[in-house]
Symmetry: C2
Subunit: 195 residues, 2 copies
DNA sequence: GGCAACCTACCTTCTAGTAGGATGATCGTC
DNA sequence: GACGATCATCCTACTAGAAGGTAGGTTGCC
């Protein structure tokens, strides 16, 4: 239970929102300073460079994501419910502008201009997510609750890509509902047709 | 047949590549000046402001996209083939770093920090694409060559989102093959199972 | 005393954008 | 065909502000 008044946490939280809005080059130390109510130089005390700040932010984000997945798996034993919980989590986020995109997905779009330390964290998140989804689909297929068309890996990559694309469309249209419209059929299709 | 040595075309072409790499805030007039072999001030002669430059670039991009779709429809009468031609076009682009992403899809990720004139162009492109895909799916469903699960609109949005997500994954993994792995099953699934 | 947290003041480099001048092609006019 | 005027294109030189980052000092807690 980290206290919310912790300055470095405030900086990280603020930076995350700003990245979600405009990516790596879309925010500055000055922007954070204004929101947190601190001077630019003080941010450098907590995070010497911008790369340090964003890398720390991503490490935290990945930990939270893994914890979230673990939590989600404890609450939902059935693979279908795990998938629904995952897309449901994001459906809830889309409405909140400061949380309407996966930080790693957004940064991934800018990979060619990102510092290498950031790229490796982003890439690692994609692998984590894809590995987890593969396991969930694999589980569902084994127990017969999910019907896969191609390989488990390709289905997992397709699912992840569709979710990210749904976030993008929701942002493009400025309409949160689009996310649900796209992701719900995604799961319905996987649910095995039982006679 | 516009001549390739046209300076303003060179500027637009260069800016497009730079946006594809890093988005709206990921490039500067200085970057373009260096590539085109011209001074910064000369770019301002052709495009007074950055917004002018990017808006012009998007208008051109959208025209090219619409022309490409028209061409594609002339060459491929069958809806399935139109979808394959569309994903095939992007599959070919993914390999080339300067063309590995849809400009509008990339800019859409940064909508919250984009000038409104840019946002409306990006949004318009999404609507154009979605409208076209809806028509193609509708056509295929009517003639029985495509099997849709939900509404035509939701299938179209899902298809577009999956393609955009596939571009993102290809970039995240740094692996062009991922795009094909994700998009090919997408079309296979739509092809009606004929007994 | 030592140290974390914060400050003011400053640096360099980059940002989009401007002012105004040089060059050269195209133009109607004689 | 020669004439000057106009205009597009490009230049040098500059601006104000924002970028990330640094130096060094003050405060207050353990």
């Amino acid at each position: 239970m980290t206290k919310l008044t912790n300055t470095s946490d405030q900086i990280l939280h603020c930076a995350r929102s700003l990245i979600i809005a405009g990516g790596y080059n879309g925010f500055s130390y000055a922007d954070i300073a204004e929101v947190v109510g601190i001077r630019k130089a003080s941010i450098h005390h907590h995070f010497p460079s911008k790369v340090d700040l964003v890398r720390t932010l991503l490490v935290t984000y990945r930990e939270e994501a893994e914890a979230g997945i673990a939590e989600l798996q404890r609450h939902h034993p059935a693979p279908v419910d795990q998938l629904r919980a995952y897309t449901g989590y994001w459906a809830a986020c889309i409405g909140d502008p400061t949380n309407a995109f996966c930080v790693c997905a957004l940064l991934a779009t800018q990979i060619p201009v990102l510092p290498p330390e950031i790229v490796s964290e982003v890439r690692a998140h994609f692998r984590t997510l894809s590995t987890w989804l593969t396991a969930v689909l694999e589980h569902g297929a084994r127990q017969g609750s999910l019907a896969l068309s191609g390989t488990t890996q390709s289905e997992a990559e397709g699912f992840m890509a569709a979710v990210h694309g749904a976030m993008l469309s929701a942002r493009a249209y400025g309409d949160a509902d689009v996310f649900r419209v796209i992701t719900e059929p995604l799961i319905d299709r996987l649910v095995a047709v039982h006679p």
